[in-house]
């Protein structure tokens, strides 16, 4: 049973536009959420995180929004760049010492 779901396998966006990557979760105990970016043949790179006490966290072009009532979070990339083309994983944990649960990832393609 998948506790972290990324239902759209892929997203194509024009350079300069906004990319919105969605993630849903089912475990109400999750209190910390992260996004990772992965290029082929490389390990995932940590992008941005958000604690459940917040509903928004911003870092440069990347903003993560958390809607706890809907058990939904999203990653916004503005403006999108061709170098953003990669697989993006959503992850979540429940408690300070718990392990991360990952989604299946979404492949973002940014067209020049």
């Amino acid at each position: 049973d998948q506790q972290v779901k990324q239902n759209s396998p892929s997203l194509r966006v024009q350079e300069g536009r906004i990319s919105i990557l969605n993630c849903d979760y089912t475990n109400s105990m999750f209190d910390y959420f992260l996004w990772y970016k992965k290029y082929p043949a490389e390990g995932p790179t940590f992008l941005i995180s958000i604690s459940s006490i917040k509903d928004k966290n911003e870092d440069g072009r990347f903003t993560v929004f958390l809607n706890k009532s809907a058990k939904h979070l999203s990653l916004h990339i503005v403006p999108s760049q061709p170098g953003d083309s990669a697989v993006y994983f959503c992850a979540a944990s429940a408690g300070a010492n718990s392990k991360l649960t990952f989604g299946k990832g979404i492949t973002l393609s940014v067209r020049p």
């Binding site: 910390y32 390990g43 392990k99």
Partner: protein, 118 residues
């Protein structure tokens, strides 16, 4: 950001051979992990360690074994490789809560080891 190194990056090996995937981190992180990922699939935790001489099985059953004799080193061993072991293996580490300034739940990955068993 953690400095975490994996070797070999790519390995093609015959069925029945013994292999060890090396993983080292230089940040003094207490926690270390091994994940397995097939293309298009989620990352599955196969082993983790919360410190020296501590190792636990992850969520996905694996025939591999690990050891944690030193804080910085967390090797993974397959005694007899099979084609079903073909996958990408990702090592990661994180601080314990209170060990540093980042959240203990933020893990940092190495570049991965691609294993192909023929």
């Amino acid at each position: 950001e953690a400095d975490i190194y994996q070797t070999p990056r790519y390995l093609v090996i015959g069925t029945g051979k013994k292999i060890t995937l090396e993983c080292s981190q230089t940040m003094g992180h207490d926690k270390m992990y091994w994940y397995q990922q097939d293309p298009g699939m989620e990352l599955h935790l196969i082993h983790y360690s919360y410190g020296v001489n501590s190792t636990e099985k992850g969520d996905l059953s694996s025939e591999s074994t690990v050891s944690r004799i030193r804080t910085e080193h967390f090797p993974l061993t397959l005694e007899s490789a099979r084609p079903s072991h073909t996958s990408q293996y990702l090592c990661a580490s994180s601080e314990s809560p209170g060990q540093g300034k980042t959240s203990g739940n933020t893990i940092y990955f190495g570049e991965g080891s691609w294993l192909t068993v023929v």
